[in-house]
Structures are given as structure tokens and as C-alpha cells.
């Protein structure tokens, strides 16, 4: 009984070693394959797809894919180079953030203090909606009171529409 867990652990050890090797070989293959796939230089569209998500680190509010300055052309070349090296879009963006700060991202990163930018507008909107809802309810209660005391509003129909339109037009005169 005692050795049983040990046996199991030995089996899992072998299995995990095996999977490790398999994985390792697959990984080598995969990386070789991506390296082969990346051999031709990445196209302008590949570069722009990433540059579009980044902001020029020196100009104000200019996306990197459309920024005409020489510096930005060099940064786009850097993206091309990194793509050719097989870096992913996230890795490239991460590289830019580490070197030039979070301002190169088109939105504040969702961490710490920056959550405020995402959270405050919906809260303000919901608060406004709630205030409006409460106001409507209290108005309706008042209207119901008025209705129960006998001031019944007539059901509007097409004739009433015509009458109202005429009245509004008269008022404008």
C-alpha cells in the first residue's frame, strides 16, 4: 500500500518526461517553422496593423501608422524587424511600453489608477439614469393621484392628433 503512491509518481514522472521531450521536439519544429514562415520581410500591412495600435512616442495624439516624421518611419522599421524576428504583436507593444511608457498605447493600460478612466463614465451615466428613474416614478405617483381625484385624461386618437396639430399651428401664428 505504501509503495503505491510512489509507483504512481514514478509512472507520472516517466509520462511527464516523455511529454516534455515530445513538447520540446514539437517546439523546436514549431519555432523553425515560424522562422521559415517569417523569412520574407513582413509586409507594410503587417507593420501597420501593429503600428495602428500604437501612438507616436514624440508627437501628440498621432497614431504610429500615419505619423509622417522620420522618427516614426524608423519605429515602423523597428516593428518590421521585430516581426521578422518572430515577435508577436503583444511582445512588440510591450517593448514599446517598456521603452517609451504607457502613453504609446491608444488606451491607458487596465491597471491600478487607470481603472478610473473606464469606471467613472458608466457610474456617472448609471447614476444619472437612476436619478431620472426616481424622478419619473415620483411624477407618475403624482399623476396617478391626480387621476384618482377625477382629472381623467382622454384617450388620444387620430382626431385628437389632427386637433393638436391644428392647435399647435394656430399657436405659432
Amino acid at each position: 500500500m505504501k509503495s503505491f503512491p510512489e509507483k504512481v509518481s514514478r509512472v507520472t514522472y516517466h509520462v511527464s518526461r516523455f511529454t516534455f521531450y515530445v513538447f520540446f521536439i514539437l517546439l523546436v519544429f514549431a519555432s523553425a517553422k515560424t522562422a521559415l514562415a517569417q523569412q520574407p520581410t513582413p509586409s507594410d500591412d503587417d507593420v501597420n496593423a501593429i503600428a495602428k495600435q500604437l501612438y507616436c512616442p514624440v508627437c501628440e495624439n498621432t497614431p504610429l501608422d500615419v505619423c509622417p516624421t522620420q522618427a516614426c518611419a524608423q519605429w515602423r522599421d523597428l516593428i518590421r524587424q521585430m516581426l521578422a524576428e518572430g515577435k508577436s504583436a503583444d511582445e512588440i507593444k510591450q517593448y514599446f511600453v517598456e521603452n517609451y511608457g504607457a502613453r504609446v498605447l491608444s488606451e491607458p493600460p487596465r491597471t491600478g489608477f487607470n481603472w478610473l478612466v473606464y469606471v467613472l463614465p458608466p457610474i456617472a451615466f448609471l447614476a444619472g439614469a437612476y436619478i431620472l428613474y426616481r424622478a419619473f416614478r415620483s411624477w407618475r405617483a403624482l399623476a396617478k393621484q391626480a387621476a384618482s381625484t377625477g382629472t381623467e385624461s382622454p384617450t388620444p386618437d387620430e382626431n385628437e392628433y389632427v386637433a393638436r396639430l391644428e392647435e399647435e399651428l394656430r399657436k405659432r401664428k
Partner: protein, 670 residues
């Protein structure tokens, strides 16, 4: 000499505006007609005075007196005369003077009104206008002097009005010239349009404050300023559209709106102004939402000041830029002070502004107009917060962040969608009372038609959910609005026996504000078609090709024929490519994307080649071309479906506006 004179006139006008404030307050408080009239005359005098100061500046600009800093920064010898004149508003100092000029013109127009009916209002209106005028003139006097001159001192060059000790006057022979990007017809009329809109909103605000101070809180102030508000809104809207068109034609990023802080700062007063236009109708028709209307016009005024400040200072780029500019704290102090005073007055009169009737139904027109206001305020909060968050973040965490288009698009698009839905429902609901039954009866036909359109679009192969929903809403608004025209004309046709089209014409003529408003609704959703087209369906590609080769995008083939580089008169160099556009084998025409290089400012300008149809725009930019290399040229191609509807919508918008503001034959007010 002329500059000293101009500066002196500004100082004198500033003092006159201060006198105007004092005399107006004293006259209104003591009910002294003489003092109030004196304030009025002083206000009338400010207009010719600011005009003279402006003419002095224009004289310096057109005669190339580059020893003056402002002239040096915005003009140069090579600029044509009309650009030298319009350089009046080409830089910060001049545009502040332009602001003051418009303010004095509008305030004078108000001062020329007959005083007998609104004797208690008008002194206060003049006081509020004069305070605003004095503030803007003080900026010219103390911080942004358009008449400051260049001096050479021991520590370097500097600009000052009066000779610093030991300084020698500098006399440059040429100026830097206006930024070439701004030398575009759209950019020449865009700022005055925007400013016309900004400044006209001061007038309804001034009347609102007058109403609060005098306690005359009925809807008189709204009736007097109705046309002012509409005109302000027209110019602000035109300013925004022209700015968008300029960005599309000149900036060369394939779009018209980049959610830049400067754009947003002009958009924010538009949001509150639009909400105000809708919600004042509840006050006129039902005597409701008075407090809210006051708050909206106060907000609009302060957002106008905030917008003027942001568009011309660039302080939002960092906290340091803000701290260094002397003008920033002044603006914030003024905005803070006017906001506090206005809101205090509002609170003081709060109970007088209570609604005359209660809201009866959640589907009545006034209830839906409140919902409309909630949505506009939602967009405003997103915009305001997005614009100031980078500053707050830098202050709190010392980290710079960018709040860019993805943030605004995600946050505002559901709100804009809901606004479109309201635009489809609200015109059918009645003032005072509407139930699901009455609303449903009016709505079902247009709603079914809109669903049919959605199905047709789906069958045609567009399966994008946002696009389907958006186009469905566009169809709903158009059908509902046309149905409203038809229903009204039909009703008149039946009751009065007029022919259908006579009835339609008379109907629109008798309630121009309503039917003009409906035309504007249609124009808005036509613009929405363009916005949806570019937001959802824009595609792009970029490639470096040599002559004879081609790029393809969205079924188009763009063949590179040739490129040439040459100098043109006016001091710039042009690189111009010739492209042939094909769809399949069919030749559609040639495009000529250009890059202009301005020698004096060392700045390039990208002018796209655009093939524009109702269905789509093909927008080609010459991104790069090196004369010595044989690699070829780099082109960036955008396919912008439906974007033309944005501009078509703008033209219909102007038509609707003209219908709404065209003066009545016999005016009861305004």
C-alpha cells in the same frame, strides 16, 4: 507706431468694458435708467474700438512688419494677401482678438434691441457680455499680446511690448509663415465658424443669467434667445464639419475625426448645446425642466470658454505645459468663477424654477426629451473625462497615458445608437401624454419598413451586427420623419381640402422649427451612414511599387504610372504621382496623390488623391518616394465606403437649419 496705437486701443476697450460692467450693475441695482443706458452706449462703443485694433493688426500682417512677433509667426513674404488677412485668426494672440471682436459685435447687436419690453433684462445681459469681453481683452493685454515686438537683449531674443533695458530692436526681413497644413480653404473658414458658434452661445447664457438675477424666470429669456441659440448651434456644427473635411483632405490619415482633445473640446459645447435645443422645447410647451435648461446653458458657456482655451493652447499635452503657460491658470480661474457664480444663482432661484405641471407619462415627448438629455450628458461625461484623464493620471501617478479612439468609440457608440433610436420614436410621441398604445399605433408602420430594410441589407450580404443595427436605425429615423411629414400634410389635406403638396408646404411654413428640425434629423442619420461606413467597413493597404506595378484593394486596381518632382511658385516643392484606377478591366480614371514640401517651414504636406462616389471613396496617399533610389514609391490606399454621405448629410443639415431659422414675416420676438 501702429502697434502702439493698436495696443492702446485694446487697453482702452478693456477699461471701457470694465466701466460697462460697473455702470450696468449700478444701473440695474438702482433702477437708474441713465446708468443702464450709459452701459449700453459703452457696449456699443466697444465694437468700433475692437474693430480698429483688429484693423491695426491686419495692417501689420498685410504689410509684412516682421519685427512684431505675431506677424513673424503667422505670415511670410510668400503668402498671398488673403492668407495674410486671415492670419488674423491664424495664431493664438490674433484669434483671441478675433474672439473679442465677435463678442463685441454680438453684444452690440443685443444692445441695439428695443429696450422697452425687456428693460430689467438688458443691463444684466450687457454686464455678462462685458465681463466675458473684458476677460478676453485682458488675455490680449497681459499674456498674448498680438502687438509685441522682437528685441535683442544680452540674454537672447525676446518679444515684448515695451523696450526692455539695454535691448536693441530686431527687424527680421521675413516671417515663418502660417503652418502649411493650415493654408487650406477649409481651415481658413473653420476657425471663424467655430468661433461664431462659440461666441453666439454667450448671448443665451447672458439672458439666462439676467433671468436668474432679475427673478424673471418664465420662458421669456428662452423666447428672446431662441434664434441666437439656433444660429450658434448652426455655426458650431458647421465649424465641426469643416474641421472634419479639412482633416480628411489634408491630414492624410484616411479619416475625418481622430478623437483628438482639440476636436473633442469643440464637440463638448455642441453636445450640451444640442441637449439644450431639445430641452428648451419642454419649457416652452409645458413649462417644465426650467432648472435643467439653466444648468445646460451654464455648462455650454463654460465649455465654450474651455474649448477656446484648449483649441489654442495645447496645454493638455502635459501638466508641465499647463503650469508653464500663464494663460492656463487664468482660464481655469475664469471658468471656475463663472461656474460658481452661475450655479449659486441657479440654486438661489431653484424653487422659482419649479415645473408648472408634472410629468404625466414616461412616453410623453417631454419625458423622451429628458432621456435624450441623459444620453447627451453620457457622451459629454465620456468626452470630458477622456480629455482630462491624461492630466489627472500624470498628477496622481506621474505616468503619462493616451486616451485614444478605441476608448471613445467603445463608450459613445451605444449612446449614439440609443440617441438614434430616440430620434426614431420621439417625433411620434405627443407633448403631455403618450401611451404605448398611441405610440405603437404611430410607430408600427415605419418600424416594419425599417425591419424590411434590415433584412434586405442582410440578404445583400452585410452580416456585421453593428452595421445592421445602425442602418436599421437610420432607416427607422428616415421613415418616421417622412411619415410625420406625410401624416401632417394628410391631416391638413383632409381638414382644409388643400392639395397634398400645398398642405405639405404650408405645414412646414407654419411650424418651421419643427419641420426644419425633422430635416436636421434626416441629415444627422445621413451623416451616420457615412460614419458607419468608415467605422465598420474601412479597409487599407500599403505597398512599395515601381512604375508599371499595381496595388489592389476592395476590387480596385491602383496602377502606378509615373511620378514627377518639381518646384512651384509660392516656395514649395511638389512630388506628384500619376495612378490609373481600374475595377476589373474597366478604367475608371486617374488619381494624383501629392506631397508638397514647404522650404521656409521645412514641413511636408500630404494631399491624397481621392475618387469619390456615393458608394465609396478610394483614397490614395503618396507615403514615400526617394528620387535617387530605384525601389519605387510607397502608397497607402484606403477604401472608405459610404463616407460621402457624411458631407451630403452636412449640406442637408444646412438646408434644415435655414428652414428652422428663416425669419417670420411678422416676428413676435427675436
Amino acid at each position: 507706431m501702429i502697434a502702439d496705437f493698436g495696443y492702446g486701443v485694446i487697453v482702452a476697450t478693456f477699461l471701457l468694458a470694465l466701466f460697462c460692467v460697473g455702470a450696468g450693475v449700478y444701473g440695474a441695482q438702482t433702477k437708474s435708467y441713465r446708468w443702464a443706458d450709459s452701459a449700453r452706449r459703452a457696449m456699443l462703443l466697444t465694437f468700433p474700438m475692437v474693430t480698429i485694433a483688429s484693423l491695426a493688426l491686419i495692417y501689420l500682417l498685410t504689410t509684412g512688419q516682421y519685427e512684431y512677433q505675431y506677424v513673424y509667426t503667422v505670415t511670410s513674404n510668400s503668402m498671398p494677401l488673403y492668407l495674410k488677412i486671415t492670419a488674423w485668426w491664424g495664431g493664438q494672440a490674433g484669434s483671441l482678438l478675433f474672439w473679442s471682436w465677435l463678442m463685441s459685435a454680438f453684444a452690440s447687436a443685443v444692445a441695439l434691441r428695443k429696450w422697452d419690453r425687456d428693460r430689467e433684462f438688458l443691463p444684466w445681459v450687457i454686464v455678462v457680455s462685458a465681463v466675458t469681453l473684458a476677460f478676453f481683452l485682458s488675455l490680449n493685454i497681459f499674456f498674448e499680446n498680438p502687438f509685441a515686438r522682437w528685441w535683442q537683449t544680452a540674454s537672447g531674443e525676446m518679444a515684448a511690448m515695451f523696450r526692455p533695458s539695454g535691448a536693441i530692436p530686431l527687424n527680421p526681413s521675413d516671417g515663418q509663415g502660417l503652418n502649411p497644413l493650415l493654408r487650406h480653404p477649409g481651415m481658413i473658414i473653420h476657425p471663424p465658424m467655430l468661433y461664431l458658434g462659440f461666441v453666439s452661445f454667450v448671448i443665451p447664457f447672458a439672458f439666462a443669467i439676467a433671468a436668474l438675477i432679475t427673478g424673471r424666470t418664465d420662458d421669456r429669456w428662452i423666447r428672446i434667445t431662441r434664434r441666437w441659440t439656433l444660429v450658434a448651434w448652426l455655426f458650431l456644427s458647421l465649424g465641426l464639419v469643416l474641421g472634419a473635411r479639412w482633416a480628411y483632405d489634408v491630414l492624410g490619415w484616411g479619416g475625418y475625426w481622430g478623437w483628438d482633445p482639440v476636436e473633442i473640446s469643440a464637440f463638448m459645447p455642441w453636445l450640451t448645446g444640442t441637449a439644450f435645443l431639445h430641452s428648451v422645447m419642454s419649457q416652452e410647451k409645458r413649462g417644465m425642466l426650467k432648472q435643467w435648461n439653466m444648468l445646460l446653458i451654464i455648462l455650454t458657456y463654460d465649455l465654450v470658454i474651455f474649448g477656446t482655451f484648449l483649441t489654442r493652447s495645447g496645454v493638455l499635452s502635459s501638466v508641465h505645459a499647463f503650469a508653464q503657460s500663464a494663460i492656463g491658470p487664468m482660464f481655469f480661474a475664469f471658468i471656475g468663477a463663472t461656474l460658481i457664480i452661475s450655479v449659486s444663482l441657479l440654486i438661489y432661484r431653484w424653487s422659482d424654477l419649479r415645473a408648472e405641471v408634472e410629468m404625466k407619462s414616461m412616453l410623453s415627448r417631454e419625458a423622451l426629451s429628458l432621456l435624450n438629455n441623459l444620453l447627451f450628458m453620457g457622451v459629454l461625461v465620456v468626452c470630458f473625462w477622456g480629455v482630462i484623464f491624461p492630466l489627472i493620471s500624470e498628477l496622481a501617478t506621474n505616468q503619462k497615458v493616451t486616451v485614444g479612439p478605441p476608448f471613445y468609440e467603445r463608450a459613445t457608440s451605444p449612446l449614439f445608437g440609443a440617441l438614434m433610436l430616440l430620434m426614431g420614436i420621439a417625433p411620434l410621441s405627443a407633448w403631455g401624454h403618450s401611451s404605448i398604445k398611441t405610440l405603437g399605433r404611430a410607430l408600427w408602420k415605419p418600424a416594419i419598413a425599417a425591419v424590411v430594410v434590415m433584412i434586405a441589407i442582410f440578404v445583400a450580404g452585410i452580416h456585421n451586427a453593428v452595421a445592421l443595427l445602425g442602418f436599421g436605425l437610420v432607416a427607422l429615423v428616415i421613415f418616421v420623419t417622412l411619415y410625420e411629414f406625410w401624416r401632417g400634410a394628410q391631416a391638413r389635406h383632409r381638414t382644409t381640402g388643400e392639395g397634398f403638396f400645398t398642405a405639405l408646404g404650408r405645414l412646414a411654413a407654419r411650424n418651421r422649427r419643427r419641420y426644419g428640425g425633422y430635416i436636421i434629423h434626416i441629415s444627422m442619420v445621413l451623416m451616420a451612414i457615412g460614419i458607419l461606413g468608415i467605422e465598420v467597413f474601412q479597409t487599407e493597404t500599403q505597398g512599395t511599387i515601381s512604375e508599371g506595378q499595381a496595388l489592389s484593394l476592395a476590387g480596385y486596381t491602383i496602377k502606378f504610372d509615373s511620378v514627377a518632382q518639381f518646384d512651384v511658385p509660392g516656395g514649395h516643392n511638389v512630388t506628384r504621382a500619376v495612378l490609373s484606377i481600374y475595377r476589373g478591366d474597366q478604367y475608371l480614371g486617374a488619381l494624383h496623390p501629392r506631397r508638397d514640401y514647404f522650404y521656409e517651414s521645412g514641413q511636408p504636406m500630404t494631399i491624397p488623391g481621392v475618387r469619390s462616389t456615393l458608394a465609396d471613396d478610394l483614397y490614395v496617399i503618396l507615403a514615400d518616394w526617394q528620387p535617387i533610389s530605384a525601389i519605387g514609391a510607397t502608397f497607402k490606399v484606403y477604401h472608405n465606403p459610404l463616407v460621402n454621405w457624411l458631407w451630403i448629410g452636412s449640406i442637408i443639415f444646412i438646408l434644415g437649419m435655414l428652414v428652422a431659422v428663416w425669419p417670420d414675416k411678422v416676428t413676435s420676438d427675436g
